[in-house]
């Protein structure tokens, strides 16, 4: 019996990788060294990596879709597309400051209403009774933050040398187009840059009376709404 060293040498010397297999490993080693390793050689590492990439792609696509859907919903929500009602007053001042070309308004208030309806005014709007006796001056469609409002102008005074300050303007729009629009028939008053405004709602129609004069000039035209309050105050 040989000694342990010989036994162990003999045992391990008998172990060898087959020539074909050894050549294949050496070839792959050469390819790996040259950076030209075939895909098969990286199979163990590449498979989970590609799966992770695929999952990352799917997740990022899903996240993008969610964000897009959220934006679409937000965009479609009426709240997001509504214009602040507070922009109406400055827009009226700006509109008249730009010396706009206005259409000549018919004196017949029914014809005037028809004209406004024909240009897209809300079907259930009406010209307040307090304005009916006034002389019509002009009418137009005014864009307020992308929403259409319908304007009609009347003479407050019948004096012969009357100017722009004697005009009173009625602006009609859809309440659903505006954020924070008055929700009741009780007029809300506002003053801005020498102009006076009073706004109220009836159904889905929001009305604004405006004049380039102190607020008391509007009062006679709001008596229908303010009379009950004055009575209550007494």
């Amino acid at each position: 019996m040989s000694n342990l060293r010989d036994q162990i040498r003999e045992h391990y010397d008998a172990k060898a990788i087959s020539a074909e297999k050894a050549e294949a490993i050496l070839a792959r080693g050469r390819a790996a060294a040259a950076g030209e390793e075939p895909l098969e050689a990286e199979k163990v590492a590449a498979f989970p990596a590609s799966r992770a990439r695929a999952w990352r792609r799917i997740l990022s696509l899903a996240a993008a879709l969610l964000v897009f859907a959220g934006l679409a919903v937000w965009w479609k929500t009426p709240e997001s597309s509504r214009v602040p009602f507070a922009t109406v007053a400055p827009r009226v001042i700006e509109f008249f400051g730009s010396r706009p070309e206005l259409a000549h308004a018919p004196q017949d208030k029914a014809a005037l209403r028809e004209w406004l309806l024909a240009h897209g005014a809300p079907a259930d709007f009406h010209i307040p009774a307090s304005l009916m006796p006034l002389e019509s001056f002009a009418c137009s469609v005014v864009d307020v933050g992308g929403r259409k409002t319908y304007l009609s102008c009347y003479w407050r005074e019948k004096t012969p040398d009357r100017g722009d300050h004697e005009l009173i303007h009625l602006l009609v729009g859809r309440r659903s187009d505006f954020k924070d629009a008055p929700s009741s028939a009780q007029p809300q008053r506002r003053e801005l840059d020498g102009w006076s405004f009073a706004s109220w709602s009836e159904g889905d129609v929001v009305y604004t009376l405006a004049t380039a004069a102190p607020p008391e000039k509007l009062t006679p035209f709001l008596a229908w709404a303010e009379a009950p309050r004055m009575l209550a105050a007494r």
Partner: protein, 162 residues
């Protein structure tokens, strides 16, 4: 050199297919990283590290530390250690991977205990202890197998004559 790496891997795993995979992976890793396999020592280190990684992942083999058990001074290994009876492959199978590794590095590769200690980053005493323990285990297993074989022969004769 690849065959040497494979034999070292066989010593660690005692499984031809696992050893082939281990040697191949170590070879390819070195080729990818350094463009070539510089030396046998580098290849052995790569094989060993890879094997330890695999064991840790699988948690099937534990390299137990012998630092605490190692006696202060162990006798050197006899140059002419007598051989063992029986099938060496089966006997080696009962050893731990690090015990087989020590036998391989010492008896097959011809490294001294000091060299193995440097290679495997272990104290020399641990290396000597592992080699002594491996030899003792081999002899014990060989004696046990021989006795068992003797008993089996007597059993066969007994059955044959009755």
């Amino acid at each position: 050199m690849l065959q040497a790496g494979y034999r070292y891997a066989i010593a660690l795993t005692h499984h031809p297919e696992d050893a082939e995979d281990l040697a191949q992976e170590a070879w390819l890793n070195l080729s990818r990283r350094y463009g070539c396999v510089e030396s046998r020592a580098v290849l052995f280190t790569a094989v060993r590290n890879l094997f330890i990684d695999q064991c840790r992942r699988r948690k099937v083999v534990q390299f137990e530390s012998l630092d605490q058990e190692a006696p202060p001074e162990l006798p050197s290994i006899a140059a002419e250690e007598p051989g063992v009876k029986g099938d060496l492959d089966r006997l080696l199978a009962i050893l731990r991977p690090n015990e087989r590794e020590m036998l391989f590095l010492h008896y097959h590769q011809g490294h001294t205990a000091e060299e193995i200690a440097r290679m495997t980053n272990q104290p020399r005493g641990t290396v000597l202890s592992l080699i002594h323990r491996a030899i003792a285990k081999l002899r014990e297993a060989a004696a046990s197998a021989s006795a068992s074989s003797g008993r089996n022969q007597w059993m066969i004769l007994f059955v044959f004559f009755t």
